[in-house]
């Protein structure tokens, strides 16, 4: 018990005294997760919106696949991208394996399904309310998608935050394609796993506290945005 408390005290010291190693890992994690969330959002938002509105053969199967991908084992995603990006793989000549870009690709691949599935639900609910009025006005599918994306923007922003949370808390795929290289591809989650296995609890605890803080901040922001939007726009 004393060892845990002592480690926690040292961890707080690392945070408050701006430990270079700790904060280097934190900033890299945030940077990569933001980029992955933006890329995943840019792909997942329109995909989810189109599936939410359009009616086409195979739509239901696609919805099932999207929902199933929410539970995709991240380490399997990491394995797939490892095979694609390894020297012998089809994308090996790009030389991306064990680089931050490989981490972003794997994280984005995990963000797309969660953003697409949540977006589909948001847009489908909005469409159920708007469809008759839109058709009455003569709104085409492309404009309807744009309109619904704009009208649900605050809810969708929270979807984007959920995507960021997914990327930031990812460990399996990031470990496989990033390699957890010190100063290059070592992010919060992989660092926590490594430092814990080495017995360096203060750094692991410090990173854990910051990671939890980020997740809390993201959720608080999402809640605040929803509340403000409801008051402002009804």
């Amino acid at each position: 018990m004393f060892e845990i408390l002592s480690s926690f005290e040292i961890a707080l010291g690392l945070i408050t005294h701006a430990d270079a190693e700790l904060w280097g890992i934190v900033w890299l994690s945030i940077e990569l997760s933001v980029v992955a969330a933006v890329i995943g959002g840019a792909m997942g938002l329109p995909l989810g919106a189109i599936v939410g509105i359009a009616r086409f053969p195979g739509r239901r199967a696609l919805i099932v696949v999207l929902n199933a991908m929410l539970g995709l084992p991240s380490v399997v995603v990491g394995l797939v991208f490892y095979l694609l990006l390894s020297r012998a793989g089809p994308l090996g000549e790009w030389g991306l394996l064990f680089t931050p870009k490989a981490i972003v690709i794997a994280q984005a691949a995990l963000v797309v399904p969660i953003v697409a599935a949540l977006t589909r639900q948001v847009i489908e609910d909005a469409w159920a309310e708007y469809a008759e009025q839109m058709r009455s006005l003569g709104v085409g599918t492309a404009r309807a998608v744009r309109t619904l994306l704009w009208d649900t923007r605050f809810t969708l922003f929270t979807v984007g935050l959920a995507g960021f949370g997914r990327a930031a808390s990812e460990v399996g795929a990031v470990m496989v394609v990033g390699g957890n290289i010190d100063g290059v591809t070592r992010v919060m989650t992989t660092a926590i796993a490594l430092e814990t296995s080495k017995g360096d609890l203060p750094l692991a605890l410090g990173l854990g506290v910051i990671l939890i803080g980020i997740v809390l901040a993201v959720n608080a922001a999402a809640y605040g945005i929803r509340e403000w939007s409801a008051r402002r726009h009804g």
Binding site: Q133, R135, S136, L137, G138, D151, H233, G234
Partner: protein
């Protein structure tokens, strides 16, 4: 329009929804310029008729002819529960104008003019969804009016409004009609029907059993179903 041709003519209009014949071989002709109120008990097919004429529901059988020559009239529809986009009242009207292809430079002035005509100039910048029910319905009317429709379908536009808000909506509907738009409206409010109608179309079991001048309908309804309805004795069907 062809000489003497009605604005709209429906023949043998049949709509089957979920195995139920909502409209059953309905015949109807609407001359230009009048205010038509569609009456009938719940389930008679009033809302389905308006949606079918407006093109939101495809008829299972029968045909709808416009102007005697097939050119669809410019039209708009206002629903019982207005659907407002999450943007300002002004932007909601501008949106409808944009969809209709109205050039951007004239959209705002046309939208502001429409808002002024329904008494909503003061709330033009407010979010549409936080307006009261009566204001939202008048905004829906402004959105429709701004499109300058030849015919306006109104599906129980005052059903969920208090008497004061309903009176405001009636005033706007009368103004739209006076400006030259053909009105086709459903309601369960007989007082409102008396105030607004030039003619009554009475529906029963998906058929138009009566189409006659409003005064005559309320004094001497021709069909036994209409007589029962006016007495409040027509059972739901």
């Amino acid at each position: 329009m062809a000489d003497g041709a009605p604005l709209l003519e429906a023949r043998g209009l049949t709509v089957v929804l979920g195995g139920v014949r909502a409209l059953d071989g309905l015949d109807l002709a609407l001359a230009p310029g009048l205010r038509t109120i569609v009456l009938g008990a719940n389930g008679a097919g009033k809302s389905v008729l308006l949606r079918t004429l407006h093109g939101l529901v495809a008829p299972t059988a029968g045909e709808i002819r416009w102007h005697g020559n097939g050119r669809r009239a410019r039209q708009a529809m206002v629903f019982q529960r207005p659907v407002m986009l999450r943007r300002s009242a002004l932007a909601n009207v501008e949106y409808a104008l944009a969809v209709a292809g109205v050039p951007r430079p004239v959209r705002e002035s046309r939208a502001r003019d429409a808002l002024g005509r329904v008494g909503l100039s003061a709330v033009a910048g407010r979010s549409a969804r936080v307006l009261s029910g009566g204001e939202q319905q008048r905004l829906a009317l402004a959105r429709a009016w701004a499109l300058e429709p030849e015919i306006l379908f109104l599906d129980e536009p005052t059903a969920s409004l208090d008497p004061g808000a309903a009176a405001e909506v009636e005033r706007v509907v009368a103004a739209i009609a006076a400006a030259g738009t053909r009105i086709v409206m459903t309601t369960h409010n007989l007082g409102q029907a008396r105030r607004l109608a030039d003619e009554i179309v009475f529906l029963h079991a998906g058929r138009a059993t009566e189409q006659t001048a409003a005064d005559r309908f309320f004094e001497h309804p021709l069909s036994p179903e209409a007589e029962q309805y006016l007495k409040g004795e027509l059972p739901w069907k």
